[in-house]
Amino acid sequence: MTIQAWMMFALVLFCIGLYGVLARRNLIGILIGIELMLNAASVNVLAVNYHVANDPAVGRIIVLFIIGLAAAEAAIALSIILAVYRQRTSIDVANLEELKG
């Protein structure tokens, strides 16, 4: 596979994730979209690492960091979702629009 193909694949994955972030009303759905976007980024990094970079270890370490940060982010996001649910018994973003000017 060429690098272009891998990058296009990553792009498609990213855009699907983006669609999820933009379209979903469920907070968990949005979180799913974000995870997909992060994975797309990881794929992109590894593709470049595989095809272009001289030092393959660096790209892998970057991806490991991405995965670690994604885990942290997911933990926080899920706890926020739980807290929001407790307060409102709903995880619909439409109910969270509170910045009334």
């Binding site: 983006l18 972030v21 933009l22 379209a23 949005i30 973003v93 969270l96 629009e97 509170e98 910045l99 009334k100 000017g101």
Partner: protein, 631 residues
């Protein structure tokens, strides 16, 4: 002690006194006055020591301030005949006035500040006089303007004083622009800022070949514009009479030896340059003669004693310029020196009278019996006679010199000579008019009091019946200056020697005769109209009411300036103010209000739809990327 150290003492002590008095003792008036007086004495002693031990050669002591390219800017003192005489005169007159002010300003709540300003003024003036560098000259020229502004406007709660201070500052500032341009041109032409060096360039006979003659004329003309402003020559003379709003010692200081003399001194300082600009010198001669005559006519009809003296100052400054621009450094410089003594003396006398009887009106003064203030009256008579040019007083010798220099032929010089004689005649006439109005009051005469005695001076508590007091602190300076007004005239030879000129023009009896005759004629006319028993005490101009009105209204020059310059400027300023407040501020306010309202509206619609915002952001980035991809 060497000369550089003495010069430093002379120049620096007023500065130290100013800082200490203003910062430390503004409210403790006695201490402030003491400090300033001490510095005045120190300056005078130093200046006198420098003068008496003067080297025949010019000396310059400078220290480098900074260097730009090839030009080094230096501060320092230049000691030659011109600066030494002027420095000594300035220090002496300033000290007299400081002593005098002890009594004159005794009741003023702000006299600590007053003395501090006097010291500031003395520092500026001495530094200007001793300046060795064009930049230093300009800086202290401006500082003189600033400190005279502060002194004229000393009674800042009086609106007329504030207006007068502003007028003096702005009018002289018009001249300063010319001076600044002139100094820059001079620097460009000669490539040096050193005053001595410039003197050396222009010293040899004939014009220096390195500078085109037109440029020399231009430089001289520009410098002369500065002189017009500072020395109150026509057409920028109108600030000087108004400057009488300041305390009388200030008038005595500014209009005798110092501020107004700065302009004359500048011409004397660069006299070599002016000599190489014959056309400008003719213009100067014309303007100076016209000014001398014009101011003399105003002095003829004024009733306010200080105003008479102010007009007389303008007129005498004209005389000095006549002497200088006729080509004689000695004549103009000599008159500058003698004038410093007798004019300061006359102002101090006026101050004593005003202090004693509480009015500026000469007629009211005379009727209030101020002539009984003996020492002051003696001073007045001597000073007035010196001003009139009666031998053997100081004014006679110097005016003699000036008239003697006007030996050119042709129509121009004939007109100038006639003008100068007329001005000399009027000078004698108005000075004796002043003397007679005060010493020979006549309650039955036609003279009308504009302002009765005790009208203005709150500090005077004497009733008309008592002899007005003559405090010794006031008398001391008056006596000193009286002696000066008598004696300085005989020092002409010494002054000429110091200036490096052989006493070229020793007037013969035949030459003296017309000048003395004219002066005596003026005195006689004044006696006939004002002095003799049963005189009408109304001048001959009173027979021509339009002429009298013209003179009293100062030839309508102020009126003219008011109409032509001040009013349009004020109108334009008001227009700008209106534009600023209504149009611009209004527009800005409207804009601000509009932004606030728009923000409020937008904020009401922004309720935290994160997804919409993300979508918009992503779409925008996408469009941008698309555009870049298409490039």
């Amino acid at each position: 002690m060497n000369h550089s150290l003495i010069a430093l003492v002379c120049v620096a002590s007023p500065l130290i006194a100013f800082v200490v008095a203003l910062v430390g003792f503004r409210r403790r008036h006695g201490i402030a006055a003491g400090i300033v007086l001490t510095s005045g004495v120190a300056s005078l002693v130093a200046a006198a020591a420098l003068l008496l031990t003067a080297h025949p050669e010019a000396q310059a002591f400078t220290s480098r301030w900074f260097v730009i390219g090839d030009v080094s800017i230096e501060f320092g003192v230049l000691l030659d005949g011109r600066t030494l005489i002027m420095g000594a005169v300035v220090a002496l007159v300033t000290l007299c006035i400081q002593i005098y002010s002890l009594s004159y300003m005794a009741d003023d709540p702000g006299r600590g500040r007053f003395f501090a300003f006097l010291a500031l003024f003395e520092w500026s003036m001495l530094s200007f006089v001793f300046s060795a560098n064009l930049l230093q000259t300009f800086i202290f020229w401006e500082l003189i303007g600033l400190s005279s502004f502060l002194l004229i406007g000393f009674w800042y709660e009086k609106p007329s004083a504030v207006a007068a201070a502003k007028k003096a500052f702005i009018m002289t500032r018009i001249g300063d622009v010319g001076l600044f341009i002139g100094l820059i041109l001079l620097f460009r032409a000669t490539g040096t800022l050193d005053v001595m060096e410039i003197g050396r360039i222009f010293e040899p006979q004939g014009q220096p070949s390195s500078i085109p003659p037109g440029q020399i004329e231009l430089i001289a003309l520009m410098l002369f514009i500065g002189v017009i402003g500072k020395s109150a020559q026509f057409p920028l003379h109108t600030w000087l009479p108004d400057a009488m709003e300041g305390p009388t010692p200030v008038s005595a200081l500014l209009h005798s030896a110092t501020m107004v003399a700065a302009g004359i001194f500048l011409v004397a300082r660069f006299h070599e340059l002016f000599l190489d600009a014959p056309t400008t010198m003719r213009v100067m001669l014309g303007i100076a003669t016209f000014t001398a005559l014009l101011a003399a006519t105003m002095a003829m009809v004024a009733k306010d004693m200080k105003r008479v003296l102010a007009y007389s100052s303008i007129s005498q400054l004209g005389f000095m310029l006549i002497g200088l621009s006729a080509g004689s450094l000695f004549a103009g410089y000599f008159h500058l020196t003698t004038h410093a003594f007798f004019k300061a003396l006359l102002f101090l006398c006026a101050g004593a009278y005003i202090h004693g009887c509480g009015t500026n009106d000469m007629i009211a003064m005379g009727r209030a019996g101020v002539a009984r203030m003996r020492i002051t009256t003696i001073g007045l008579v001597v000073g007035g006679a010196a001003l009139a040019g009666i031998p053997p007083l100081a004014g006679f010798f110097s005016k003699e010199q000036i008239i003697g220099t006007l030996d050119g032929s042709g129509l121009f010089y004939t007109i100038i000579r006639i003008g100068v004689y007329a001005a000399a005649f009027l000078t004698a006439y108005y000075s004796f008019r002043m003397i007679f109005l005060i010493t020979r009051p006549n309650a039955d005469s036609l003279a009308v009091e504009d302002e009765p005695a005790h009208a203005q001076h709150a500090g005077s508590d004497h009733s008309a019946g008592h002899d007005p007091a003559e405090p010794w602190v006031m008398c001391g300076p008056i006596i000193l200056l009286t002696l000066g007004a008598i004696g300085v005239g005989f020092l002409g030879g010494r002054i000429a020697a110091l200036l490096g000129i052989e006493h070229a023009h020793a007037p013969t009896l035949a030459e003296m005769a017309p000048a003395v005759g004219i002066a005596l004629l003026g005195v006689a006319l004044a006696w006939f109209e004002f002095g003799r028993t049963g005189a009408r005490q109304a001048g001959f101009v009173a027979s021509f009411p339009p002429v009298q009105t013209l003179f009293e209204k100062r030839w309508y020059i102020d009126e003219f300036y008011q109409r032509v310059f001040v009013r349009p400027v004020v109108w334009f300023a008001k227009l700008c103010y209106g534009t600023e407040t209504r149009a611009l501020d209004g527009a800005a306010d409207k804009l601000a209000r509009g932004v606030v309202r728009a923000g409020g509206e937008t904020a009401r619609r922004h309720i935290g739809r994160l997804q919409l915002y993300i979508g918009a952001a992503v779409a925008s980035v996408a469009v941008l990327v698309f555009y870049l991809a298409m490039e």
